[in-house]
């Protein structure tokens, strides 16, 4: 280990802190300028990449040779901000990635659109939906009870009804989006005209908590190549275009830069004090 004039308080522990949170190791060593510089530059680059890529560019997938996320080997070095990707991929039950999986009842806010058989009742709909398995031991056959407000051409009306079991689709519990899409056939009644049954297609979403969306893996398993199935990865590329690659590059560079910061916390700067490169070219002025 080279001698350094910069006091490196407990270098191994500092390096661990620097790995976990960029800049934290230097903060521990009381090297404040560097702590701020590393934190702003590395975390700023990482989260900018995440924003550009709509939160879908950092995830871990090591299932088969063609689906491995080699980019994560670089992103990993950002530390804590990138580690949830490992947990999402490795610690989750495979059922959490299943479409239409609803093992136990849940109530959530819903926002979407109703396309009714009679156009009088077409319009945006928002309210509360309770989802539950239609029958015990059949978690993939769900039903829902919606209660909310429908915006019709004549104004808002209170509406209540059910989503027909097996008629629609519900996104997986874990996916890299804050919106969990839900669709199905709806049958309900309004408070103004309780004797009129409204039928139609319901499309919308319920919120997905951050612990189910942050760095969740993009599934790339195509059920049927010839049917033109879109996987999560296909959809992300289609929606984001070059922003997907841009986000990947930003987050990868952030991880690689933190390797330099970790090494700096462990060993100190490469050119320290008198050893600094170019010291002869930049002489210190003589005292007057």
């Amino acid at each position: 280990m080279p001698q350094t004039r910069v006091p490196l308080k407990d270098p191994m522990f500092s390096a661990l802190l620097a790995f976990l949170v960029p800049g934290l190791g230097h903060f521990y060593q009381r090297r404040m300028f560097k702590a701020v510089l590393y934190a702003v530059c590395i975390l700023g680059t990482f989260f900018t990449g995440m924003r550009i890529g709509h939160g879908q560019v950092v995830y871990f997938n090591w299932q088969s040779t063609e689906n491995r996320t080699y980019a994560y080997l670089c992103q990993f070095w950002v530390g804590l901000p990138a580690l949830p990707a490992l947990a999402q991929a490795e610690l989750r039950s495979s059922r959490a990635f299943d479409v239409n999986y609803m093992p136990k009842p849940m109530t959530s806010q819903f926002a979407g659109k109703l396309t009714a058989e009679t156009s009088d009742f077409d319009g945006p709909i928002a309210g509360s939906i309770t989802l539950r398995p239609h029958e015990l031991n059949m978690p993939h056959l769900w039903t829902g009870k919606l209660s909310g407000e429908l915006q019709t051409a004549k104004g808002p009306v209170k509406i209540e009804g059910d989503v027909t079991p097996g008629s629609g689709s519900l996104d997986p519990e874990v996916a890299p989006s804050e919106k969990r899409r839900l669709s199905g056939t709806f049958e309900g009644r309004t408070s103004e005209q309780p004797d009129v049954v409204i039928r139609g297609g319901l499309e919308g979403h319920i919120p997905r908590p951050i612990w189910n969306s942050y760095e969740a893996p993009l599934r790339d398993l195509r059920v049927n190549d010839f049917a033109g199935d879109q996987t999560d990865l296909d959809r992300a590329h289609f929606l984001l275009g070059s922003r997907f690659e841009l986000g990947v590059v930003f987050t990868m560079i952030a991880g690689l830069l933190n390797i330099l910061a970790i090494y700096d916390a462990l060993e100190g700067p490469a050119y320290d004090g008198e050893e600094e490169e170019g010291a002869a070219a930049e002489p210190t002025p003589a005292p007057a």
């Binding site: 510089l37 680059t45 841009l246 330099l260 600094e276």
Partner: protein
Amino acid sequence: MWSDLFLAAAEGPLPRIWFAVPLIVVISLVYSASRYEAPDRILRRAGRLSLTIGGFMLGVLALLVALSHGL
């Protein structure tokens, strides 16, 4: 927030090449910080490195433009 500005730029008509500028600055700052300890020296070296990287990239761009002229 600057990431919001980036997001707006990414979704707007700004050419993607401009995303290289903040990356060059960040890479130069972090690289120089890993080399030196004094803040003024870090900033001075980072400025020089930014110009070097930017100049090199502009040179490559000019070469590619020249080679692809008339295609």
